[in-house]
Amino acid sequence: MYTQGLDQKDKARPAAGEETAAQQDAFQARVDAEEKIEPKEWMPAAYRRTLVRQISQHAHSEIIGMQPEGNWLTRAPSLKRKAILLAKVQDEAGHGLYLYSAAETLGVSRDEMVGDLLSGKAKYSSIFNYPTLTWADIGAIGWLVDGAAIMNQIPLCRCSYGPYARAMVRVCKEESFHQRQGFELMLELCRGTGAQKAMAQDALDRWWWPSLMMFGPNDADSKHSAQSMAWKIKRFSNDELRQKFVDVTAPQAEFLGLRIPDDDLAWNAETGHYDFGEIDWSEFHQVLAGNGPCNRERMEKRRAAHDNGAWVREAAEAHAAKRAARDAA
């Protein structure tokens, strides 16, 4: 789905003299010329760290993101919807795997990355710390959360780092499919009974603002993204992408007959964009700080799965070692 790692400052600095100005200039020239940087080629250490952080957070988001949707798999109200949701959750596991592999090309192991997630050192997208309370939330996630993710990810298909860009081409195709399925789920509810439509409105009420928060802080508060822009890891600012999302989504809500929960939302003919209200940034920072409705549950579930699987992974290793010893004998 999406990572908010784009806005974090790279804290580690290379020791003076490790990277020459000539190396950095040559690298920047390649990036400026829209050349793809490949795993074995020279790159600044900070570029590498930024990518590892961003790609691994993106992978973690896919894995944690399976939880809120998985929450409705056993209760999906038709077999067709059950199959669609199951396929979506499977795709997310696949995206996670794919992205961990892309990050591994930068010299970090999946075990290290997973270790950082489980220890709380690495983050994942704030959106997955909200609960899925009704079936309509599954539609809202597809429509809004995947919709927001696509806004972020389409530019990543042109990211300067080759393996990430190529991974995103495939991921985006699937995300776009998920987004359409989510919208179609909402449409079915909105054309259904009064109770179904109320369920859809309630889901939009709860997911709208958290979806806008997925784009990260306002540009004025997002100073660290300048370097990512220069490296062409990031192509558009948070506010540009957020505006684009609102412009695309507002007419869709209208089509569904749903009301976006923002009194300030209005078409502005002068700017050619929708105006919209101010995000509650205190809520955003609370969720990032680990105090969202489900931060604790998401991490507990992930850690429990990891811990409960320890004996299985040990057995697999022990068996592989026995087999290798037998083959060698």
Binding site: G70, T74, W135, G192, A195, V312
Partner: protein, 252 residues
């Protein structure tokens, strides 16, 4: 029993076992020991849900009363389900699931292979498609059985316990009734008496490789063909059906 009624009953049994098996796998999503297993588990669950839909759709046609896949899945009470008892058993740990799948799929592959050659064209087509999926599942389950049985002391102890737990539900695979008789005699379907020795051979081979012993046949639990289930099915069905039933007649 007339042949159409028997065929309908038989197809519903297949659909119910596929759906309940898939539902148990779905409960495991996000709880697997490795990311690769998340993909495998979701993929297998999807196969089972897909098979259930095909069986139910065909059941609806055979019945001819306008019922579709969701009517069978969501609007029957648990006692109307005819899934095998082993399918409804709670998941337990990873090794439990592997052993359950290994025992059941060793049988299901043989059942589907026989059905793929049966005289009812529709059922044969569904079975031919399903058997490709289940062969792959069984290979996966067998590989894990061997890793766990011949892994660490702990993993061996755990799967030996799983085997003890599930073995008593395997006898009913072969505990046929008049529906099975009609399937065999009128449609050239599976002959349970001849499947059993082949199943025992497959299972014994897998267990041997996994350093596990074949359990004693005692205290067999049967009854699914008559709708006599264990206590576990009621909860599975209640959770699966509640939203659908809370909105009668709604489309999703």
């Amino acid at each position: 029993m007339n042949t159409t009624d028997a065929l309908l009953a038989y197809v519903l049994r297949l659909g119910d076992t596929a759906l309940v098996t898939g539902q148990r796998m779905i409960e495991r999503v996000t709880g697997e020991p490795e990311l690769e297993e998340e993909l495998a588990n979701a993929n297998f669950a999807l196969d089972y849900v897909g098979q259930a839909r095909l069986f139910y759709a065909y059941a609806g046609e055979l019945e001819g009363e306008g019922r579709g896949e969701d009517d069978f899945a969501y609007l029957r009470d648990s006692q109307a389900f005819r899934n095998l008892l082993i399918a409804e058993q709670p998941n337990g740990h990873f090794g439990d699931c592997i052993v359950r799948q290994f025992l059941f799929e060793s049988f299901y592959v043989l059942q589907l292979e026989a059905l793929a050659a049966c005289g009812d064209r529709r059922l044969a087509d569904i079975a031919a498609r399903g058997v490709k999926e289940i062969r792959y599942h069984l290979r996966h389950a067998t590989q894990w059985l061997v890793r766990l049985g011949d892994g660490t002391e702990e993993s061996h102890r755990r799967v030996a316990g799983s085997l003890e737990r599930y073995w008593r539900y395997t006898a009913e695979f072969f505990d046929g009734d008049d529906v099975d008789d009609v399937m065999r005699d009128a449609f050239g379907g599976p002959d349970l008496a001849s499947l059993e020795p082949r199943w025992r051979e497959t299972v014994a081979g897998g267990l041997r490789e996994a350093m596990l012993s074949v359990p004693e046949d005692e205290a067999a639990q049967t009854g699914s063909r008559r709708g006599l289930h264990t206590e576990h099915l009621g909860y599975l069905v209640a959770e699966m059906q509640h939203l659908h039933r809370a909105h009668p007649g709604a489309r999703w």
